[in-house]
Symmetry: C2
Subunit: 505 residues, 2 copies
């Protein structure tokens, strides 16, 4: 077999794995959106069978041989930015990584985390950290073992980050997070002490759900989500899933007295969806060349449309008349500025997922501090509640009254997902840096938004981010797209300018 | 390996095939119900991959060895009605059958029918039989070859019937159909010449779709479709699909000026759904013991609830007040008898799927005549239009003005599905025979329906039909459940009594 034939065989196999993976994707989507509750047990068996098949097909030693054969060809790997070199680089990375964990450890983690998740649900319900603690201890132990198996140089947490944001290190985060924390804490203090505060009652105005559905569809369509190649449905927790080159599905949720939730969830998920819909298409589908580059970059796309676009005054200068028309009588008494202030309310709160553009990243920094300490062994599981509450006091000036709204609020640890949280903040930082560069390249975005032109920004993103797939690692992509390494400065500049104007400081 | 171990291994493998088959089921359901149109090409690749996997797993020579090993045990096969004997009997049948077609023929049929379906769509649109004819000729040729490979004694069509109604023969159909045709033709003549005719304008009364949705859900729920383990959605063509032991989905469709379509489609599909939901559960799921016995028996369940129950006067004596309440002002001026007459209108028409309880089976008999003649070679594809129109004239007294509403109306032949049509009529015949026996066993069903008791009939069906799975072949099941061989008499008795009363003869 020539290296070219090996590469072709490998590509076919990977596309077949993608076909199966996307099949599992449909099963997962259906489970969240339409499956009758009683179907859960059988669905779990199906998903487990498909996951096992994908794993087996990918970790087959023949795959390793094919990769090695293909790598031997200069034609395939000589230009590191060629499609073949990109694919081989990423297949190599994933294949080697999949070989590093002993089967026993994988199975033990699956078993423990399955139980831990059930215990976490109960512990949170009962506000009883001690119930979750022994399971968390097991999970931390297994995670430390994973980190050892993967290997690392500076910090065991680096080995875990690799699963979520390839190439990211604690060294980089320790450079990004401190100025962020400092500036955000100052911002929180200024906002909290400001005499100018928004009218929050606006956010509770009753908006009929059927009208919210129509308006959300309009928002998603207008910013560029393609309904010919996607759909929007309802689920308990909004999510986006790409099920094929022409099938991307987003979900949202509706409450009559909380339009904000539906609108911004929709913009957020549509941002993820637009990324998926504009990855390189047919011929590459199922290969790294046509895959999203990292969780952080993915989150940058959702945050871009949710916050930098969707919570901007220019956006609402365009959409406010439409909003008034869509919800007759409900917003007629308001100026766009009053509405804009309400949807940009900021205040310290306990729950990460309900926090705002300013406070959100402090919730993440807190988790990062605790996770790195747990993985390095300098913090014990038993000490989490105290560490959590201290950090909340320090970063946000509030202390959760219970662990249920404190250290038990997130599902991630029960899954063994240590290293995931930082990608949320990375998303925010990337989004601001991309936005600033697009704004510069396109000669001012606000004027465009006010006229309902969202295509210009989408086109810039299509070209600079989406169409790149995994050609570059995330950090390199940032440099190529913006000319600079990732920094927290553009994000802080954005917040300081926007919230300074809103809250008058 | 002991025979018991072989049986266990086989069972596990078959359950795994069922897991994959049901995965394809979800993909198919999604395609009809929610998939964005652009997703079709990728979905076809996924379905083809899954079909290939299932086929490969089932036809693996190891399966043949395992079946043979298990069959050697008296403990497993001694009692022919034991679970293991039933499963082995059906696995043996399917395995042997799967080995009879050469791979080349299977692939050729897949290729030709895929093209033929596209051509059929165009030919029907253009009312141009000649466009479809060459493809149909190819399909008939391949189907004749299939019949030869499967083998038969009396008629090549017998080899094809086996795919849809195992055990059914042309000899049996040639015994059932002639008295049916004769009596139905007489009935049609009496109905057509009757002076009593229903007020058809009732069926066109505008019923808001959202109210139809709610009422259809009520109907399905009330007759016993379990929404904890199923759902109802909308699709262009109503269908039912079982996706797991606790996940059965039905679809229907709504038009404001055609409530009849939605109501009776829903009852029809709910009938299929109730069968699936009451097959033997968890431990047996994925084996023949827990599978529906045949298409004819499946259709008997849908026809039972659609026609024998849903189009009865007793049913509407119970539901009519509910209907008036659900559609305020729309049916207030009508008596239940007038409504009942309207939903039992009967008249010759061109389209099988739009025909009524009386005329439906004449459409099927016509197709049976043509199919058997095509397969035996006594009729050529080119002569179908003439044969079709002659038979329509003879059976129903009307001649379709175009082939589009004549011999081009059904998709079946473009799929190569010769032998499918008779199962529709078998369903009607089985349903009447079952209903008559249940009526006798339960001491009169009408009185129960009038009081809204549909549980008694459902329980009877659960016990006599659903819980049996494939324990008996279809013909034996009929004998066990009703004490008699299948006959067209109960069905004719039902029609003569009902339509005699309605049309006054």
């Amino acid at each position: 077999m020539t290296p070219e034939q090996a590469y072709e065989t490998l590509t076919q196999r990977m596309k077949e794995i993608a076909l199966l993976g996307n099949t599992a994707g449909i099963l997962g989507w259906d489970q969240e959106v339409y499956m009758p509750g009683a179907g859960a047990a059988y669905r779990a068996e199906q998903l487990s069978l498909l996951a096992g098949m994908c794993h087996q097909k990918f970790t087959d030693p023949q795959v390793g041989e094919l990769i090695a054969q293909a790598e031997s060809s200069k034609a395939l790997t000589g230009d590191p930015l060629s499609d073949s070199a990109v694919n081989l680089r990423e297949w190599r990375r994933s294949y080697d990584r999949s070989k590093k964990l002993p089967q026993k450890l994988v199975e033990e983690m699956a078993r423990v985390s399955s139980n831990a998740q059930v215990e976490w649900v109960e512990a949170r319900k009962a506000n009883q950290f001690s119930r979750f603690q022994p399971w968390l201890e097991k999970i931390i132990g297994l995670t430390q073992e994973q980190a050892k198996c993967y290997g690392y140089t500076a910090h065991p947490y680096d080995a875990l980050l690799e699963d979520y944001e390839p190439g990211l290190t604690t060294a980089k985060l320790d450079e990004l997070f401190p100025p962020l924390k400092k500036n955000l804490a100052e911002l929180v203090a200024k906002i909290t002490s400001s005499k100018k505060q928004p009218d929050l009652s606006i956010l509770k105005r009753a908006c009929p759900v059927d009208k919210q559905v129509a308006f959300c569809r309009l928002l998603a369509e207008k910013i560029g989500f393609d309904f010919e190649k996607g759909r929007i449905d309802v689920s308990a927790h909004p999510f986006t899933t790409g099920l094929g080159p022409c099938d991307t599905r987003i979900t949202t949720r509706f409450e009559e007295n909380n339009f904000e939730n539906a609108f911004f969830s929709t913009l957020h998920e549509a941002g993820h969806g637009i990324y998926d819909q504009n990855l390189p298409g047919d011929a590459h589908y199922g290969t790294p060349r046509a895959s999203a580059v990292s969780l952080g970059i993915h989150e940058s796309q959702s945050r871009m449309w949710e916050n930098l676009v969707g919570r901007s005054l220019a956006f609402w200068r365009y959409f406010f008349p439409e909003l008034k028309k869509s919800f007759p009588g409900i917003f007629d008494d308001l100026s766009v500025e009053t509405f804009y202030f309400a949807i940009n309310h900021s205040a310290p709160s306990f729950i990460r997922t309900e926090s705002d553009e300013v406070t959100y990243n402090l919730h993440v920094c807190l988790r990062y501090d605790i996770e790195t300490a747990l993985i390095s062994g300098s913090l014990k599981a038993a000490d989490i509640p105290a560490a959590w509450n201290n950090a909340m006091k320090q970063y946000l000036g509030v202390v959760p009254p219970t662990d249920s709204v404190g250290c038990l609020q997130d599902v991630h640890w029960s899954h063994g997902s240590f290293g995931y949280f930082p990608t949320y903040t990375l998303g925010n930082l990337y989004s601001a840096q991309f936005f600033a560069k697009a704004n510069e390249d396109l000669g001012g975005l606000e004027g465009k938004f006010e006229k309902g032109d969202f295509k210009s920004l989408k086109k810039w993103l299509n070209e600079k981010i989406h169409s790149q797939g995994q050609r570059y690692r995330a950090t390199d992509l940032c440099k190529v797209a913006t000319g600079k390494d990732l920094s927290s400065q553009p994000f802080l500049d954005h917040l300081n300018k926007k919230f300074g104007a809103l809250y008058g400081f």
